[in-house]
Chain length 298, copies 2
């Protein structure tokens, strides 16, 4: 199977890095926003979308959860967890020990993730936000005469021919981002370069109007069946303060007895339950050789 993949672009974003591990040989279509990625699958422009859904530091990507629940009906067909490693990079003309930039460009999250490094090593140098880390790298590549630098990933350095002068400048070594694969049909992961961790099932649960104590009942339906929850997350229903729906991740594949039993019990309690997907979970254990990934992208 060969797929066309809508992903949160431009080229060389962390989403692109995730796609290159899951689908190293497939056609990629960069999109400007997360909703556009999902719309591309709904409209048939792409077979699947890959978008970020959660970061270990920032929490859930709300636009992904909200658009998935309120706007489109696209099953989750897979997930991949990748380490987030940020590097300091400059135009190769500026790759000299004495170089100090006038401005550092990156996405606001990347700047926040490198706060300690910036505070300690480059105090007082202004940081400017770009729409993605890759856009910052592109900006540095396009202006060799300016004293500027970017914070971005290794793929962006390779893509735009920049020199990484300070690798791994992120404050937390355990920072990861989880991306989901969204598709109308089942996806095959034949050429996947990541490690398979097991299966997951994601449910969206809306509590009945008078929900005092209802969440406890919901969790009981899973607890007495010994179904492991790896995540529970509340998001606003957009119908007024205090009205939430819950996203629940179960550490197993959809079965014919336990999960359907729990869903029936929740519905009997007056909850509205939607299956958002049952899918394989992948993890990137260590960095694959960058040059290899880059050569496949050409």
């Amino acid at each position: 199977m060969s797929y066309s993949i809508a992903f949160l672009g431009p080229k060389a974003t962390f989403t692109d890095l995730a796609v290159s591990r899951l689908f190293p040989d497939d056609a990629k279509i960069p999109m400007a926003t997360i909703p556009e990625c999902m719309d591309a699958v709904v409209d048939g422009q792409a077979d699947l979308a890959v978008v970020p859904i959660e970061n270990a530091l920032e929490g859930s990507v709300n636009i992904t959860l909200d658009y998935l629940v309120h706007e489109v009906n696209l099953p989750i067909s897979g997930e991949i967890i990748t380490p987030i490693q940020q590097h300091f990079m400059v135009h190769p003309d500026n790759d000299i020990p004495s170089f100090v930039p006038d401005v550092i460009y990156s996405h606001s999250h990347a700047i926040a993730q490198c706060h300690k490094f910036l505070h300690k090593e480059l105090r007082g140098i202004p940081c400017e936000n770009t729409t993605s880390t890759a856009a910052a790298a592109q900006l540095v590549m396009e202006q060799p005469g300016k004293k500027i630098a970017a914070i971005a990933n290794e793929l962006a350095a390779a893509e735009y021919g920049l020199a990484i002068t300070r690798p791994n400048i992120h404050d937390f070594s355990h920072n990861h981002t989880k991306f989901v694969v969204l598709s109308k049909s089942d996806i095959q992961y034949e050429n996947c370069l990541a490690t398979r961790r097991g299966d997951k099932t994601t449910l969206m649960v809306m509590l009945p109007a008078d929900h005092s104590g209802a969440l406890h009942q919901v969790l009981s339906a899973f607890a007495w069946r010994k179904l492991n929850l790896s995540k529970i997350e509340s998001r606003p229903m957009k119908t007024g303060l205090g009205n939430y729906f819950f996203i629940i991740d179960l550490e197993m594949k959809m079965d014919e007895v336990l999960i359907p039993g729990a869903i029936s019990e929740l519905e009997a309690l007056g909850c509205n339950v939607t299956l958002l997907g049952s899918y394989p979970s992948f993890m990137v254990e260590k960095s694959v050789d960058i040059a290899e990934i880059h050569s496949k992208m050409m």
Copy 2:
């Protein structure tokens, strides 16, 4: 008592509107960011801070929760829920029926909240983001010769002398934002113009490392005591994907039996529990006369 209040500025933001209801006669210090508001109280520059914590459409304000849990130790001393009403405004020189702006300025959330109006009435006109709705109003005031408009609240229109040509252009009429009062000591609400709704207690609960089923146990400790939860929200611990803490709101004041009993039970289960505050809850029922608020601000 007279307080000095650090709030998320500039003048005439929705936070300013909330402050004007809670503390109509007190001294206000606008701050550029939410962390700066909290730091001002920690450093003794201000007696209290007022910052947004949750919006009915966007969900929790993550920077507020995260800074409160990870960076500062400031009890929640009150909360106020205010309706969010957005208006379309222009420089009074441009207050003519045929006026069509070349650009519309506002905060990205306000632009999102008026999506249907903009799509229907002003399709194709570019929207530019500003750091606050008040900043958009100021920008329009400062450039009377330009064909520009702002989306902001009634306080900003009054503050910057703009003409509201289309009031209440927000898509959802039930949109509200909750703001919290943060202070080292108890706060008196003597001149408060909002309605008292009751009391709340907010707890932060960290589950033990092996937390499968632990959240269910946590909720049991509240459920069997018939303690009503009005909110449960997960946020990342920043120690790796899948590690969360939970913010729990109880619909009552801290007592001497039930809540301390629940906390002891949670601690016996291996949870780490922090009391974030026990405080009065206020609500703005309807708009107070704008001219009156504005005259008090002068």
